[in-house]
Amino acid sequence: MTEEIIIAGFGGQGVLSMGKILAYSGIMQNQEVSWLPSYGPEMRGGTANVTVIVSDERISSPTLTTFDTAIILNQQSMDKFEHSVKPGGVLLYDPNGIIHHPKRKDITIYEVKAAKLAAEMGNTKIFNMVVLGAYMKIKPIVKLENVIKGLKKSLPERYHKLIPLNEDAITMGMNNVTKI
């Protein structure tokens, strides 16, 4: 199994940390992982994206032009990455702020209203975990228990009290993803 993912949105949405949690979860289940962010001036206030690969085998190129899954969280990223999904692949997006919805017929498109759900839960910071939950429902490549283990390993001890909230957000995402 090799899953090649691009996660793209605005800087500050938690795009990079969502990728990191995914990568950490892969390590927790003894898989090979790579996490490559876009870095440089474009990150400040602009778009941010990260390529994550989770695989049972040694990972070749950490930089890619086509993906099994694209997780798209703003219009600029939709314009840039809708066409990068491999035929038969998956596109997951939050319709919040999207004007031009994806049109491709050769891929499976899902939506999760993560920004709205996170706001309803009273904490917009867990937005990315709602999106992660939606992704985990579509492609259960990482197990919830391993995500929690990964969170415990990657978060400093003082933030561990927030893990149940993150778990709720993941469940919220899992229960609210719809195929378009």
Binding site: K20, A23, E32, V33, S34, I59, S60, T65
Partner: protein, 361 residues
């Protein structure tokens, strides 16, 4: 099994410096390698092992701190990115001339000049052909994963001390910024002062009672003496060439074509090879791990075996290709492909270049 972590290449390099028992790190921040000094400052290695971490006033100061610290037989290290490494070239020449061991890491970015902060491999010439003045060589190791960013730190120190010469770890913004799974090696204890004195009889850490004065210098105004010193250096470099070549071969057994690539280009090329083999093109990868000494023998053997062509893939305008050509000597086709100035080639572009320049050309 050692501790498993998800780390950036730069962080793995920094953690490896602590675990390798380094005595002093002297550096100056520059993108895309600033995480090295950031990590070291945050990790407070002084409390863990007694290791000194110092932000110098410039790259020129850092490299000369290596001359001073390394001269006493201590394990010393610095890191920077291309423009900063250019500033260190004078110091590297002096270190090589005075035969002082040390480790320098270059996380390469696009050039020339101040360039940009994106990944590049355009410092190959500077690294392997002698970026400073005089006849000298550096041992040059090219990691292509975060794991190797960690593993090559103790290896670089072993080689630097074995041959009393500076060793360079050359990666780029991609390897430095990328996170991967890394298995950390166990802490290697720092040597005590007594152990340093006993182990390195050349080091300038005090004249022993009844012993000879120790002088570390690259200056000798007598040309005949300087020529003998150069003969000694050249003999040492020959020994290194004979004993320390490192490389990796993938899918070469049945290959008709070979991609030669190091560092991040070697990672990208592995995907290109996968795509090529899906189309029935038999191509393999030769990955130099030591850029100097360059793996001449495997390229010669592949040429003798009748390889139809070599494609040197580098994020540069074509630098390593010269070393490939020096081995092939016109016996088969050798071409270059690469994007540069901070642009990273895609696996598909590498495959297209192979088809057009080598197979179809």
């Amino acid at each position: 099994m050692g501790e498993l972590k998800l780390m950036k290449g730069n962080e793995a390099l920094a953690e490896a410096a602590i675990r390798a028992g380094v005595d002093g790190y002297f550096g100056y921040p520059i993108t895309p390698q600033s995480e090295v000094i950031e990590y070291l400052m945050a990790e407070k290695p002084y409390e863990r092992t007694g290791m000194v971490v110092l932000q110098a006033e410039s790259e020129v100061a850092s490299i000369n701190m290596l001359y001073g610290g390394g001269g006493t037989g201590k394990k010393v290290m610095t890191s920077s990115s291309s423009p900063g490494i250019s500033l260190m070239q004078e110091g590297l020449s002096y270190l090589a001339g005075a035969e002082i061991p040390c480790v320098v890491a270059n996380v390469v970015r696009g050039g020339p000049g101040l360039g940009d902060i994106q990944p590049a491999q355009s410092d190959y010439f500077q690294s392997v052909k002698g970026g400073g003045h005089g006849d000298y060589r550096l041992i040059v190791l090219a990691p292509s994963s975060v794991q190797e960013m960690s593993d090559f730190v103790p290896l670089a120190f072993d080689l630097a001390f074995k041959y009393r010469t500076p060793a360079l770890i050359i990666s780029d913004g991609l390897i430095g910024q990328m996170m991967e799974k890394v298995e950390l090696f166990d802490q290697i204890p720092r040597l005590t002062d007594e152990e340093v004195i006993k182990r390195h009889p050349w080091a300038t850490n005090g004249k022993p009672v009844g012993g000879e004065r120790r002088i570390l210098t690259s200056l000798d105004l007598d040309p005949h003496k300087l020529e003998s010193h150069n003969w000694h250096l050249q003999a040492k470099y020959k020994t290194i060439e004979e004993n320390e070549v490192r490389f990796e071969m993938l899918h070469c057994e049945d290959a008709e074509y070979i991609i030669v690539a190091y560092g991040s280009s070697a990672r990208i090329a592995q995907k290109s090879i996968q795509l090529a083999r899906e189309k029935g093109i038999k191509v393999g990868l030769l990955r130099p791990i030591t850029l100097w000494p360059f793996p001449k023998k495997p390229i010669d053997e592949l040429t003798k075996r009748g390889i139809k062509g070599f494609l040197s893939v580098e994020m540069s305008a074509g630098q390593m290709i010269e070393d490939v050509k020096l081995v092939v000597e016109g016996r088969t086709k050798v071409e270059h492909f690469g994007r540069y100035g901070g642009v990273i080639h895609s696996p598909e572009q590498v495959l297209e270049a192979l088809e057009q320049k080598i197979i179809g050309g």
